[in-house]
């Protein structure tokens, strides 16, 4: 149900069979891209997709991924700032 992994499209193979080649950390596999992309925004080489049992389920939105990491980083930064403040406020 849940094991799906991000992969990058490296080659479009067959439009009729909806096949593309994806790469995950150096490993390549043919996958079906029939569930992602449409005429307005077809899947292209370089796109990142979420792969589950040999099918791409969703396109990975790189901007959203970045935003998520930034939000996490903000939490991180706030945390780091607090620790820094704590250290500075110690009476020497």
């Amino acid at each position: 149900m849940c094991l799906a992994i991000p992969g990058r499209i490296v080659e479009l193979l067959d439009a009729d069979l909806q096949l593309a080649k994806a790469e995950v950390g150096g490993v390549r596999r043919n996958i079906n891209i029939g569930l992602v992309g449409d005429e307005a925004n077809p899947i292209a080489v370089g796109d990142w997709v979420l792969i589950h049992v040999g099918f791409a389920l969703s396109k990975i939105d790189e901007v959203e991924a970045d935003l998520t990491l930034r939000a996490l980083g903000q939490i991180g930064k706030a945390y780091e700032d607090e620790i820094a403040d704590l250290r500075q406020s110690q009476i020497t």
Partner: protein, 373 residues
Amino acid sequence: MKFVTEFRDADLARAVAANIAEIAAPGRHYKIMEVCGGHTHTIYRHGIKDLLPENVELVHGPGCPVCVLPMGRVDDGIAIAQRSDVIFTCFGDMLRVPGSKGTLLEIKALGADVRMVYSPLDALRLARENPDRDVVFYAIGFETTAPSTALTLQRAKREGLHNFYVFCNHVTIVPPVRALLDSPDLRLDAFIGPGHVSTVIGCRPYEFMSADYGKPVVVAGFEPLDLMQAILMLMRQLAEGRCTVECQYNRVVPWEGNQAALRSISEVFELRPYFEWRGLGFIAQSALRLSHAYADFDAEIRFDVEGVRVADPKACQCGEVLKGVLKPWECKVFGTTCTPEHPLGALMVSSEGACAAYHNFGRKTFAVTGAMR
């Protein structure tokens, strides 16, 4: 690895953990359920519980599509696999699940042609390559996997294959969650929503949980930082008195779901009037079967599947663990009669099952946890 490694960063983890600890009101005990078995696996594999404060407890839900299959259905699959004219294909997850008289791996030892596949398309290829044998694909999984089975069947139809069949055991996520919310012995504060099911069905289907039952929901990804962030988002809702559905997994989950996937499901499948769930009993409209248009590919019709009901072994408490009422180690047979090697129930076999996850990853005394820090 991109989109993976960044979400496993330990420094960010500590920061999020500190925030969670800060928000958690002392003296209050929080119970958060992760619905999806894949989340259970992540929690144990990365040791996420170690980063949470003592008063934030994670309860494991019924989102393991292997664990919730009643023994009778497992027996039905094994009966099909034992036929000499059949090449029986399935995912690795199913090979060791115990039926009442054995597992698929055991009948393979006795000569059944049981083959593990990574994708239903691999099973389709076997059907093309072996026109004189019947190839059966054991379809399991929630809405995450159903579209893949659907597209495979659409292709089988287009190619006019006459020897490909699907034994359909796809289940849907909303009915069992509703059954849990309705059950009187459950006291939960919030839910971590299933990230990959949501790539197909979107986030709207969970709105009833906050609107009707007053429980906040955050749909989460599967890397450890995704879960930590989702837990933080839930804690913030609880602290601020908000109650709504949010999505942490924005990089992948479309709020409205995947229309192509939903269309494929509605073309190829229909809802069964009811289906039996291990531990939860019969639930209406909670599982899929092949629609009339695809009857020629239905293994249950072709092989006249008996559909016998088999009760769980008396000692088995899978149902209560599935509902989150018991923790794995509270089950009377956990680790003694029921181990990953000799599982009594599916929760000990499936890598998503709470018992297997805990047995394989989580058994350690508190003294030890202290020593590791």
